[in-house]
């Protein structure tokens, strides 16, 4: 059960990396109570401490999410170049609000602060992949591509 995290030394300083590893391994991209307890036992601190640390960071989720996390940038450089209408388009396309997951469990829509892709604003990430120069048409194309590569799997 500890296989996933054994490459990290069982010390507090590795807690964030351990939480990342546990979250990435979960099919619903979140930290279960069991995972949090596992991390707590592994590094030898109380569960409440792990909870308090995990909830501080916006990238950790204690609620189930979709297979893919869409993080759309809502920082000023992207907002200046139309990020708001890109977000609206995404919400319409996926029929979800920010923070929600599509009914088929494929996508969770989140916003993020700057992705450092301001040169190609507006930008978003889906999982580890960056997409820039977003427009309505590009969005549809990207979402379709992710959907069909899921089906191929």
């Amino acid at each position: 059960m500890n296989r996933l995290i054994e490459k990290y030394a069982p010390t507090r300083e590795n807690l964030l990396d351990i939480l990342h590893a546990l979250q990435d391994d979960n099919p619903h991209n979140y930290l279960t109570t069991a995972a949090l307890r596992q991390a707590a036992d592994y590094v030898g601190i109380p569960l409440s401490e792990v909870m308090s640390t995990a909830t501080f960071y916006s990238m950790f989720s204690l609620k189930p999410r979709g297979r893919h996390i869409i993080r759309i940038c809502e920082s000023p450089p992207c907002l200046l170049l139309g990020a708001e209408s890109v977000l609206t388009a995404l919400q319409e396309m996926l029929e979800v609000q920010v923070g929600e997951t599509t009914t088929d469990g494929a996508f969770t829509l989140e916003t993020t602060s700057c992705l450092g892709a301001c040169g190609v604003a507006p930008a978003m990430m889906i999982d580890d992949q960056l997409y820039g120069n977003l427009s309505r048409e590009r969005l549809a194309e990207i979402i379709d591509r992710v959907r069909s590569s899921d089906e191929a799997r």
Binding site: R71, L80, C114, G132
Partner: protein, 599 residues
């Protein structure tokens, strides 16, 4: 064997997002098919700078710079250019004014005006190949300090160069190294701050992705100077590509004995670990970063004690920014005087800036300190798109301020920007044109900082949302007569009473827009947004004279707010139903849709 042509194709994050990998594959196939594999070499590099034009590629030695390349172009490029020696003109980057072919990189103002020191290798070498880095004198500076210099001499050289921290505050780097070197205790740490959270900043990302060894070498030299054997790079989790490249670089440097135990057989040992953030802007603040590295909530603590005395695990710790470390090897190899010969008296060297917003050439540029804002935005940046008017530039991100047109000729350095009520910050430059509302801009930044406040101290936790609420009601058209005064009072209190730099600087975007664009705030109080950006203060209107009854707007409107019969103009917008999304204005082929003040 020496190749005839080197094709440098950008594999920076922005170009990858524009499918540069597919272009590379297509080129490789065509090169192979034309039997040129021995003559033409493809090198994937880090960011070349002009992100908006990606995928970009540069052909050496002839200097042809191709932009917006697609996989479909590969056959033509290989056939015409690589085989027959005739660059494909339609894909070359031409200067906007003259449309003159940019056969040499030097002829494009974007490059000609720049002075690359930190980014020297970015876009020229393959960041995943340590040998290419070594071929550019890589690790020579580390070799030099380990064999020829004492730790004190290293710190003194950096001090003499006048290098100042590129992470925002501009603290003299050599002095900081001296503090850590002088702190008591056998165990010390070197930490590289790669949390780069300022909206509009992506310099550090480019350096880590494009030339990771330069940062590692800078850290190793620093470790020798301060007496540390262990280092960390704290990279934000939003940069997976940077994390991969750094990890690959670390492994390669270890393999070659350039990091790890007994480096270059000198007896000096230093290793580096990569740590990932988890989405908290405040972790860029040095004491919060240390807490996060230790596996805790990333909350700042009061200073002193400074990290130089009591840092990671309570030990003396040197924290510098990515770009600061990137400068180090050049100073060691070329000397402090050389470094001082670039830039200004108080701010020597170059600075990397990230241009974004309403500017033609968005992307990364490196210029000597003292370059004017005008040179940066208009000559290198190519000016404002669509012939619009420059309004202001925000420097220093959410901690900085805006600078209006009358100060465009200001030479950029730490002090000059501060005098204008802004800061250098990490180097983000967000350009705005007449269509951008300055009140709304201030609201954007306050939304960011209020959201990122860690909640530890009251002025920041309570004060920023209070400022935000006022800004929200002003942009909604519900502002009250005393709101401007309130903003100023709150802003000043938060600045003086907050614990860390986040709260201490968060009011700056509001205070600086109030300083230069107070009339825009006042106009909002009487219901007018001159930029026509605040949707609550505008309405869309179809000019009956210009409307031809083409029906496009009616079909495009997402809420069915437009009425009319095809071929029977004019159409009209129902102001009550309209959500002011602007779609009709975009689709109208006759420019008949106008934006008016709501009142």
């Amino acid at each position: 064997m020496r190749t005839r042509l080197d094709v440098l194709i950008c594999a920076g994050a922005a170009c990858l997002s524009a499918h540069s990998a597919a272009v590379r594959d297509a080129l490789a196939r065509e090169i192979e098919a034309h039997g040129l594999s021995d003559e033409v070499r493809i090198v994937e590099t880090g960011c070349m700078g002009p992100c908006e034009l990606g995928p970009v590629m540069l052909v050496y030695p002839d200097g042809a710079f191709y932009i917006h390349v697609t996989p479909e172009d590969a056959a033509e490029i290989v056939e015409e250019h690589f085989l027959k020696g005739r660059p494909v003109e339609r894909l070359l980057w031409t200067t906007p004014e003259a449309r003159r072919i940019a056969e040499q990189r030097k002829q494009v103002p974007f490059f000609a005006k720049q002075r690359k020191v930190v980014l020297k290798n970015c876009g020229l070498i393959d960041p995943e190949n340590i040998e290419e880095y070594i071929a550019t004198d890589g690790y020579a500076a580390l070799g030099k300090v380990l064999t020829e210099m004492t730790p004190t001499a290293v710190a003194e050289t950096i001090a003499a160069s006048g290098l100042r921290g590129r992470g925002g505050a501009g603290f003299p780097t050599g002095k900081k190294w001296g503090f850590v070197a002088g702190a008591p205790g056998p165990e010390k740490y070197v930490v590289c701050n790669a949390d780069e959270g300022d909206p509009g900043a992506f310099m550090d990302r480019a350096l880590l992705e494009g030339d990771p060894h330069a940062v590692l070498e800078g850290m190793a030299i620093a470790a020798y100077a301060v007496g540390a054997n262990h280092g960390y790079i704290y990279v934000r989790a939003e940069y997976p590509l940077a994390i991969n490249r750094v990890e690959a670089a670390l492994a390669a440097a270890h393999r070659m004995g350039l990091l790890g135990n007994n480096i270059m057989e000198t007896g000096f040992s230093f290793d580096i670990e990569v740590r990932m953030g988890a989405g908290a802007f405040v972790c860029g603040e040095e004491t919060a970063l240390i807490a996060s590295l230790e596996g805790h909530r990333g909350q700042p603590r009061p200073r002193p004690p400074y990290p130089a005395v009591e840092g990671l695990f309570g030990k003396p710790t040197l924290i510098n920014n990515v770009e600061t470390f990137g400068n180090v090897r050049h100073i060691i190899l070329n000397g402090a005087d050389w470094f001082r010969s670039i830039g200004t008296e108080s701010s020597p060297g170059t600075k990397v800036f990230a241009l974004s917003g309403k500017v033609v050439n968005t992307g990364l540029v490196e210029v000597p300190m003292g370059t004017t804002l005008r040179e940066l935005i208009f000559e290198i940046g190519g000016g404002i798109p669509d012939g619009k008017e420059f309004k202001a530039v925000q420097t220093g991100g959410p901690s900085g301020g805006c600078i209006p047109a009358e100060y465009l000729d200001t030479p950029i350095d730490y002090e000059s920007l501060q005098e204008l009520g802004s800061i250098m910050g990490s180097g983000g430059m967000i350009v705005m044109d007449a269509d951008n509302c300055m009140v709304n801009l201030a609201r954007f930044f306050l939304e960011f900082t209020a959201n990122e406040s860690c909640g530890k101290c009251i002025p920041c936790r309570v004060g920023l949302p209070a400022m935000l609420e006022i800004l929200q009601r002003i942009t909604r058209g519900d502002g009250r007569a005393d709101d401007i005064d309130k903003l100023e009072r709150l802003g000043k209190t938060i600045k003086t009473a907050s614990l860390c730099g986040l709260g201490q600087t968060a009011p700056n975007p509001v205070l600086s827009t109030l300083r230069y664009f107070r009339d825009e705030y006042e106009e909002h109080l009487v219901g007018r947004c001159r930029a026509k950006e605040c949707t609550a203060l505008i309405r869309y209107w179809i000019d009956p004279e210009a409307c031809r009854g083409c029906d496009q707007c009616r079909r495009a409107c997402p809420v069915g707010a437009i009425a009319g019969t095809p071929g029977n103009p004019p159409y009209a917008i129902d102001a009550e139903a309209c959500v002011r999304c602007g779609t009709c204005r975009e689709v109208c082929p006759f420019g008949a849709v106008e934006i008016l003040d709501r009142r």
